[in-house]
């Protein structure tokens, strides 16, 4: 199974629900891992793959909503599909505000769960891709020398080489060399592209 095969984590304290959900998700070819408690899930080694979390709101110990909050604080952004025994509107609003994909009331129709899970996995795929790209850009940025970084920061503000040379107290020729290095290391074909890359990296404009 390739690492890009999605995986669904199911957390529910009721064994019957865990088993039924696993069976349903397995029947459409999804990889499923089940946990009895939120703590058990937090302690687990999770594969590096698009994933989603099917989470019961009421859990012994750490509740579903607690787990959602803790994951957000850890920066582990995994899309969540909530399940609950009875529709509790304030609770569902809280969950949705905190970024839940769906809030399902048991018993739910199978297609509802499968759609929600699919949506969540798709969202995670996009997110993973975004994270990967940022990681790639960051690695390029890390290959820059300190002087090249300064030059890049000034280039993306739209300054001319002469102006940059004046700011950094060096010759225009030197700046030109640095600038070529930046464009090459950051794999940018144009200043416009370099600006987009800098934006995604959140490069601070000098002097601001």
């Amino acid at each position: 199974m390739s690492t890009e095969d999605p995986v669904v984590f199911v957390v529910d304290d009721d064994q019957a629900i865990r088993e039924a959900t696993r069976s349903l998700l397995s029947s459409v070819g999804l990889r499923v891992e089940t946990f009895r408690t939120a703590q058990e899930f937090l302690r687990s080694q999770r594969p590096d793959a698009p994933a989603c979390l099917v989470l019961d709101v009421r859990l012994p110990g750490l509740s579903g909503l607690d787990l959602q909050r803790d994951l957000a604080q850890l920066g582990a952004s995994i899309p969540i599909v909530f399940m609950t025994g009875h529709g509790d509107i304030p609770m569902s609003v809280q969950a949705m505000k905190a970024g839940a994909v769906e809030f399902l009331t048991k018993p739910f129709r199978d297609q509802q769960l499968l759609d929600a899970v699919q949506q969540a996995i798709d969202r995670d795929r996009v997110e993973r891709r975004r994270r990967m790209e940022i990681g790639d850009l960051r690695r390029r940025e890390e290959s820059l020398t300190p002087r090249e970084r300064e030059v890049m920061a000034l280039v993306v503000t739209g300054r001319l080489n002469k102006q940059i040379a004046a700011v950094l107290g060096t010759s225009e020729i030197t700046i030109k060399v640095h600038r070529a290095q930046v464009m090459q290391k950051m794999r940018a074909d144009s200043v416009a592209e370099l600006v987009r890359i800098a934006e995604r990296l959140g490069v601070p404009a000098p002097g601001e």
Partner: protein, 600 residues
């Protein structure tokens, strides 16, 4: 012995008691008359019987003449024999010799006759001028005896002795044999007292002083006591005025004789008005019969009692009071006074009612909450397996719907569905068992007593809905084996239903009749409790539906009371049913089998 003092008629003597025996030493005939005439005159005027023993130097005629001059009504005194003049020699010597016993006996005889004739006593004037020397000794002995015997008799004796013919020894002897002596010398009077007399007078004076002292002390003590009594009464009165209760008193004549300021202020009546009106007008008409009964009963068999009554205030509104009444007895054990206090309990009753209401509401809320929680818990318990069954079913279909159906997975899904459905069944069975268990311990119960315990609980509702509750509760019921709280819940439920059914009734008495009596069920003796209302009733065709769950005619009813009540009745081997009354409303009847202890 009479203590009243007699006027002597002689200034220096003044007043004298009966039993006074004194002597007068005179110089001249005039002296003698000056003493004896007023002496006798005063006696006559004081309605005393007087005997004047006349001797020389006076003759009988001279005596009469002098008397007639001084006493204008002398003839009347003579004719009614208030005065006798006797001659000294005849009186003292009689047949010839002086016999002191005979003379003393003669005085006593005269006195007895005078007292028998109604005189207060006898006044005597004696004379010793006739005495020969040979008789002097005997006469002194006579005087001494007389002096001793006269003291306790109702007579006064004045003996006259001529000063000139008496020697010094004789003077002393004579003086000694009298209580005191008076003398006229050259126009002035002198009183000579004998040592005994002096001593006696001193002692009398001392006794008088002591007596006076004791009278003063006693008076002061009495005054102190009176003062203390007054202070004590004032304190009690003040107390009666300042305590925050109405205080009143009724005499045995059934008249108000005291009421304190609180009483006056609350009633708005003056004491006179209140006394005229009597208390009955101040009592709420609904409480009057009860109040009069209690009062009559207490009066026929005096004892303290207390009773809660509504009393009318000055503004015409009524407040509830706890009235306590107690009799005060006199030394013969008769009721001398009734005292009463009225304590305002309106505020307390209102708080109690509010509290009861809150409690009732709380109980209701608690019941609802408990039911809600039970329902929520039941829903969750059932929802989990149901959700699992649904999901397993869906999964099963998907396993079968594959291009290559996965029978293994499908079968496992069906197995799980069976398992989860069984689990749901267990939840229901468990809940049912739980409900059954909460019934409580069964014991032998007196149904009438059990009903009486409920009555205070319904009191507030009864009053609020203006319902009249009549009880007809049998005292000799056989016991019933049951859970007290459950059965009370049933009766309470029936009573509350009855009261609610009458809430919108007008134009007829809202009467609720609670009855307990002996009854016969198919399988043996039983106790029957009936709750009859005069409410809106139920159509004949809906009578049976009353006991169905969730059937209700009440706007806020749950429709659970009667079904639960019936299941409790059945759990006790009894029955609960309803019938329509011939007039209005329904009668609910609860029959419970009588319990006979094992071995009886």
């Amino acid at each position: 012995m009479a203590t009243a003092l007699r006027k002597a008629g002689i200034d220096v003597v003044g007043e004298m008691p009966w039993g006074t025996h004194f002597c007068h030493f005179y110089e001249t005939k005039q002296d003698l008359l000056d003493t004896l005439i007023p002496y006798v005159k005063t006696g006559l005027e004081a309605k005393e019987f007087c005997i004047w023993v006349v001797s020389e130097p006076l003759t009988e005629d001279e005596a009469w003449t002098a008397l007639r001059e001084a006493v204008p009504e002398l003839d009347r005194y003579v004719s009614d024999r208030s005065i006798e003049l006797v001659l000294a020699r005849e009186w003292y010597l009689g047949s010839g010799t002086f016999d002191l016993q005979r003379v003393i006996a003669a005085w006593n005889g005269k006195l007895d006759v005078a007292l028998a004739r109604g005189y207060p006593g006898m006044r005597v004037s004696g004379n010793a001028a006739w005495l020969d020397k040979k008789d002097r000794r005997d006469f002194l002995e006579y005087e001494e005896q007389l002096n001793g015997s006269i003291i306790h008799r109702r007579m006064t004796v004045l003996c006259t002795y001529p000063l000139m013919t008496s020697g010094a020894t004789e003077l002393l002897d004579v003086t000694r044999t009298h209580q005191f002596a008076i003398a006229t010398r050259q126009g002035s009077w002198e009183v000579v007292e004998t040592p005994q007399h002096k001593q006696a007078k001193v002692e009398i004076f001392k006794l008088n002083q002591e007596l006076e002292q004791r009278v003063l002390e006693r008076t002061r003590q009495l005054e102190d006591a009176n003062d203390e009594l007054r202070k004590s009464e004032a304190r009690l009165r003040l107390l009666a005025e300042v305590i925050p209760h109405q205080v009143w008193g009724y005499g045995p004549d059934d008249l108000l004789n005291y009421c304190n300021q609180q009483w006056v202020e609350y009633s708005g009546l003056t004491f006179d008005d209140a006394q005229r009106e009597g208390w009955a007008k101040r009592v709420h008409p609904e409480d009057l019969e009860r109040a009069q009964e209690a009062w009559e009963q207490a009066r026929s068999q005096p004892r303290p009692y207390e009773i809660e009554l509504r009393l009318r205030g000055a503004d015409g509104s009524y407040r509830r009071f706890m009235t306590r009444v107690a009799p005060l007895y006199d030394e013969r054990g008769q009721v001398a006074q009734w005292f009463g206090t009225n304590t305002d309990v309106e505020g307390r009753r209102q708080v109690e009612e509010a509290l009861k209401k809150v409690q009732a509401e709380l109980a209701h809320v608690t019941r609802l909450t408990t039911m809600g929680e039970l329902a929520a818990s039941l829903a969750h318990e059932l929802n989990q397996p149901l959700a699992a069954i649904v999901t397993n079913g869906s999964a099963c279909l998907r396993w079968l719907d594959r291009e290559v159906p996965d029978l293994g997975e499908a079968i496992q899904s069906v197995h799980r569905m069976v398992r989860d459905a069984n689990r749901a069944g267990e939840v229901i069975a468990h809940t049912r068992a739980l409900m059954k268990k909460s019934g409580g311990e069964k014991s032998a119960l007196d149904v009438t007593r059990m009903i009486r315990e409920i009555l205070p609980v319904i009191e507030l509702e009864v009053r609020r809905q203006e319902v009249v509750v009549r009880e007809s509760l049998a005292e000799d019921l056989p016991p019933v084996l049951g859970a007290r709280v459950e059965l009370q819940q049933v009766v309470l439920n029936l009573v509350m239903n009855g009261i609610e059914a009458m809430a919108d009734v007008s134009g007829r008495a809202r009467e609720l009749v609670i009855t307990s009596e002996r009854h016969q069920l198919e399988d043996g003796p039983a106790v029957l409790v009936s709750v009859q209302d005069a409410g809106i009733g139920v159509a004949q065709e809906n009578l049976g539906r009353l006991f169905e769950a969730f059937y209700t005619t009440k706007p806020h009813g749950l429709g659970m009371g009667l079904p639960i009540s019936r299941s409790i009745a059945q759990a006790h081997g009894g029955r609960l049913w309803a019938t329509r009354n011939p007039g209005h409303g329904l009668t609910f009847q609860l029959a419970l089998p009588a319990w006979s202890p094992p071995g009886s």
